[in-house]
């Protein structure tokens, strides 16, 4: 039995690429094992740590995970809450008990007093049940209903670039625009300031999304925000 690795750290691979042979290696992320071989199931970036070969996907829709911080859009009413869209094939439920630390009395108020269709909410994925039922919580700060501002959509795989190392990129965006910015791991970004600054930030984020692999991106983003 031959133990052989066919790729190295930071390689970009396509679905079906043979990554390694032999049982010594372990697949992780979007890597999968077929018999004695390990392959990639998506376009991705390789990370090799000891015996673990991980494929970090470079494309694809958002897949909800418990604890993810996301921006959801209200798109329907239930009996005790709302259903929301999250740029994923799965719907998510927001129960009325998850919108405030205080008791929400539905005897003296109605659901539409809190959220209407097309409202946005910043929250956290509370739970994903065995059967696929997903629930959202927005009762603790900083989670809340997003009032005003402007929501834009980016590829969820680019979100780490928009945040930057230790939040460096998002800090630049906030500091040079005076905008409030909230980033959802599902690829939605909420921007609030005056419209001009909102547009500036939206364009800077599009630039980050498109040119995430080019060097000198930080400088370009700064220049754009300063209106050059």
């Amino acid at each position: 039995m031959v133990e052989k690795i066919h790729i190295k750290d930071k390689d970009v691979i396509v679905p079906g690429t043979l990554l390694a042979e032999g049982l010594e290696y372990l697949p992780s992320g979007k890597a999968f094992r077929d018999g004695e071989n390990i392959y990639s199931s998506t376009v991705g970036l390789i990370s090799v740590k000891g015996r673990v070969i991980k494929v970090i996907p470079l494309a694809g829709k958002y897949a909800p995970k418990r604890g993810d911080v996301i921006i959801a859009k209200i798109n329907g009413f239930g009996k005790f809450g709302w259903t929301c869209e999250i740029e994923s094939p799965y719907k998510i439920d927001l129960n009325v008990g998850e919108i405030s630390m205080n008791y929400v009395d539905l005897k003296n108020s109605k659901l539409a007093d809190y959220f209407k269709i097309s409202d946005y909410v910043f929250g956290e994925i509370l739970d994903i049940s065995e059967s696929g039922y997903i629930s959202l919580t927005a009762k603790r700060m900083p989670y809340r209903k997003l009032v005003g501002g402007n929501v834009i959509k980016v590829s969820p795989v680019k979100i780490p670039r928009i945040i930057g190392k230790q939040g460096s990129m998002i800090k630049i965006l906030k500091d040079s625009s005076n905008c409030e910015i909230l980033v959802g791991q599902n690829g939605l970004v909420w921007i609030k300031g005056n419209a001009e600054n909102e547009a500036k930030v939206a364009n800077a984020i599009k630039l980050i999304e498109q040119e995430s692999h080019h060097s000198g991106l930080t400088e370009k983003v700064k220049a754009m925000l300063e209106g050059k």
């Binding site: 079906g16 043979l18 829709k61």
Partner: protein
Amino acid sequence: MGGVGGPEKLIVNGKRLDGRKLNEMREMEIKVGVIPNADGSAMVTLGETKVICAVYGPKEVLPRRNLDSEKAFLNCVYGMASFSTSERNRPGPSRRSTEISKVIADALAPAIFMEKYAGLEITVIMEIINANAGTRTAAINAASVALADAGIEMRDLVCSVASGKADGQLMLDLFEPEDNFGEVDMPLAILPNTKQITLLQMDGMLTKAEAKKLIEMSMKACEQIYELQKKALKEKYGSEKESE
């Protein structure tokens, strides 16, 4: 096969009418990410044949009657633009395009981890912009990289080519005169890692030995196509690594 009114000979001095050798494919170009609105997209040019493909999904299944709680609903739609053929092609589905849509879905499904998308839909739209034979196989090549571009989890890519026989000779990648007036047309698709065949159709008449030879020729061509698909995907995604 074998229509009337075609050229007298399809092979002249050992060469085909477009100057190719028998085992030579037309030039193929693949571009990934050509439709910004789509979750994944690709364009494949094979000689004069040109196809554009968009993948949307995974998404909610609509209408609900298509829902499969065990695996994805793979909705493949092959179509031909009205101006893609010599005589204007009436837009909208035909019996031919309906059948091709189905065999393409069957060719792609084995490559996809269908059970990971249980209860969801993956839509693959393939539109032939210009037709000069080999449209279904070009569509499969485009769809396969468009699915990868959409981040759909796959066992492998899918590579496809149509070969056949004309003037008594086996040949790779038929173009229109050979497709119309030749004796045999055989579209084939494989998963390159395992060499498993996911599409196979044939019209005409072949001996067992010829069938074997033609499949071998096609499989070899699929290896070339596989390299082009990988290259096209890496052109879009390859540059990601520098800044990581």
